[in-house]
Symmetry: C2
Subunit: 435 residues, 2 copies
């Protein structure tokens, strides 16, 4: 007999079906005995009346793998709208010990319990609430790729083993590569710019690595990054528009298609406008000082509290939880960003629900100016590690810009989790290398 | 004026359009002067008659970035079916040196020229033929994901920084992880099996790492792997059917949608049946000996020559270039494979065009038997690195199986390239860590 998925039994009312899954709950009350069965599509309630069948369940614990044949009886109160009666059980994998964590009730995500959460991750992920987080995450990735395909972006796979730190930065993992020193890529930055010369519009979703010495709610040493780069832009507004469309489009889709999961996870309601408000960093400093009486006159970039504040402000005033903070001061820009006319770079931060999720710059595409900016930043353009990158400019790169954002952090913010690690299946930080 | 993509100019016959791209060819013959312009969608020919416009091109080389406004004149012989006349040029990024490699004519992929190919990769990828390889690759990835979504698989992201070598194997890259020893994941094997307990059906496309000491056409140290795992199977035929459907479905789609690119790259014609022939390894040994008179009576697994031979045999006899070699001898199986009744494991190799592209086993899902098999293989189940993995079994994993294959090698075989590195944007091997 073919297996029916739990979510589909309602289509077979009054007929006999076979379902397969994990024993999810067992309520043997003497008079009314039932179990629930979990499969990838949901939960189904199974009424067990026959003594011989009941006997098969003796000593079996949550997680036991079994098939159940029975008649579908409609019941609006039951999960998936029906339950199974007159059943015959077939135990496929008996489990005789209790799972170390709850599968049915939400697991604690309190800071002091996170270590337990990750220690039992292999089983804890079967918890219905945990599963929802990663279903949302998988959908998000699908929607992001869908949007990028629709906008003529080509997927690329760039190397994660590289010769030097792409941005000349510290905090890289180093290792011996056949007697040469190699590092794990912190970002595909240089490669995606090179690839603009090939496909104009490229993207990659892949792991990146950073030897983060901090143990905070924001730091992990392996993140899944979305990287996007586009050529032949008319100006940096084109890049802002693209990231705005991407974020709005995918968020709306996630909130529509995963509304039940998001509700069950107590995710905040989504408030977005078609156009995200754009405030310059200077404006935000001023607004923030005026409203909070906190002096930020010595700050160049936004403080974390200003990031939170401007998002709240925009949510109330503009009805939008995503905000662009434009006009990054040149003292904070990277050598490959393009300067704007005055003291600022053509770069904006995209803030969402209180934190920066992406930096969105136009790149400097003019070879000679790029060389100057490298030297000014103390980066040696004659370093052999840059020769390939620079050749892309020497032989013609159009005006371009792009952005990258951490998928993990985005998922964290979408659901309203407290720690980036809760949005990662098996997170890695300074203290955790397993499971 | 808005930019029109080269492939779309035919839609604007007799109208004025603006195109943007790279100077691809320059033929200034005195009488008839024209250039061609490359953008992400193709090539367009531009007739330059006006002297002032011609003057703008003086000294400019291939790769120069420019926009061209002009009137679309239909011409069936021209690429994209039309060319631009009465043009006005706008040079955006002048390039005054010749590119180090040809952009228009195919680059040599001869073994002795591969080093040059990769040395100038950042520019060489702009070559029209190279671009086709990676367009096909991007499409393949899209189709693979599409197939897996349609079959209810959930995408996962598993860590690439791990505590030990997943399969207890050698050839791993090791590095210092905050004073602990970490390795780069060779495969998401253990994680994808754990995730069967959560989503039943999971997949991942991500980089994996192997410290390959060999310098051959088949060895690179970083590969893009597709990994698939599915639970609640009725037997290992279910896994074979799934990989068969995946491969047939995506190959047919690639050969349909990328037929022009494949033809231009001289890719072999595709010959596939709905069902791929299934020969046991014992049968192949026998057929091969009989037909070639080569003695393989001492061989356990297939020799490379047998892999080539059986694919040729099946192509001729069955009209199918993909073949399953079933019945892997137990002496060659991994500890997590399931034994079959006699000397063989429930595992098959999927061969395509002469080489194995994937091993397709059912896993041993019974906790006690798995422990036995680990011990027999010399793997210590009490090693803390396995505790998470084993807990997934202890708390109930259904019968499951899966497969993984290298995307790079698959692309190589689809196009008929000679070396896996030709299918990788920036390959990494024992001698090459850049670009």
């Amino acid at each position: 007999m073919e297996r029916t998925l739990n979510k589909d039994i309602i289509l077979h009312s009054d007929k006999k079906v076979k379902i397969s899954g994990w024993l999810h709950k067992k309520r043997l009350l003497g008079g009314l005995n039932f179990i629930t069965l979990r499969d990838r599509s949901g939960i189904v309630q199974v009424l067990v009346e026959d003594k011989k069948e009941l006997e098969k369940l003796r000593g079996l614990q949550i997680g036991t793998v079994l098939s159940v044949k029975g008649v579908v009886v409609k019941d609006e109160r039951a999960p998936n709208g029906a339950e199974l009666h007159d059943v015959e059980l077939d135990v496929i994998v008996p489990v005789d010990i209790e799972p170390p964590v709850e599968i049915d009730k939400p697991l604690s995500h309190k800071p002091e319990n996170l270590d337990t959460l990750f220690e039992y991750r292999a089983i804890g992920l079967r918890n219905l609430q945990e599963t929802k987080i990663f279903k949302i995450r998988a959908n998000l990735l699908k929607y992001i790729r869908g949007f990028l395909y629709d906008n003529d972006f080509t997927e690329i796979n760039t190397p994660k083993i590289v010769a030097g730190a792409a941005e000349g930065g510290a905090e890289v993992f180093k290792f011996d590569y056949f007697s040469k020193e190699a590092t794990l890529a912190q970002s595909p930055q240089l490669y995606k710019q090179i690839m603009v010369g090939v496909f104009e519009r490229v993207f990659e979703i892949a792991p990146t690595f950073r030897a983060e010495l901090s143990a905070t709610t924001r730091h992990v040493s392996e993140v899944t990054m979305l990287d996007v780069e586009m050529g032949f832009i008319n100006g940096y507004d084109d890049v802002l528009d693209m990231v705005e469309n991407l974020v709005r489009n995918t968020l709306n889709k996630v909130y529509k298609d995963c509304s039940a999961e998001l509700k069950s996870l107590n995710a905040p309601e989504l408030k977005l406008n078609d156009k995200f408000p754009r405030y310059s960093i200077a404006e935000i400093h001023e607004l923030y000082s005026k409203n909070t009486k906190i002096d930020v006159s010595n700050e160049i970039d936004l403080t974390p509290d200003e990031e939170r504040w401007i998002c709240e402000y925009s949510k109330k005033k503009d009805g939008c939880e995503a905000v662009f903070a434009t006009g990054l001061p040149q003292s904070k820009m990277k050598f490959y960003h393009m300067k704007d006319t005055n003291d600022t770079a053509k770069s904006a931060d995209l803030l969402f629900r209180g934190i920066e999720i992406s930096t969105v710059p136009q790149r400097e595409h003019r070879y000679e100016i790029l060389l100057e900016q490298m030297r000014f930043a103390g980066v040696d353009p004659d370093d052999p590690g840059f020769s390939y990158y620079l050749s892309a400019f020497k032989y013609g790169l159009p005006p371009h810009g792009g952005f990258g954002f951490g998928v993990d952090r985005f998922v964290e913010k979408i659901i309203g989790l407290n720690n980036i690690k809760e949005a990662i299946l098996f997170p890695r930080d300074i203290n955790r290398l397993t499971p």
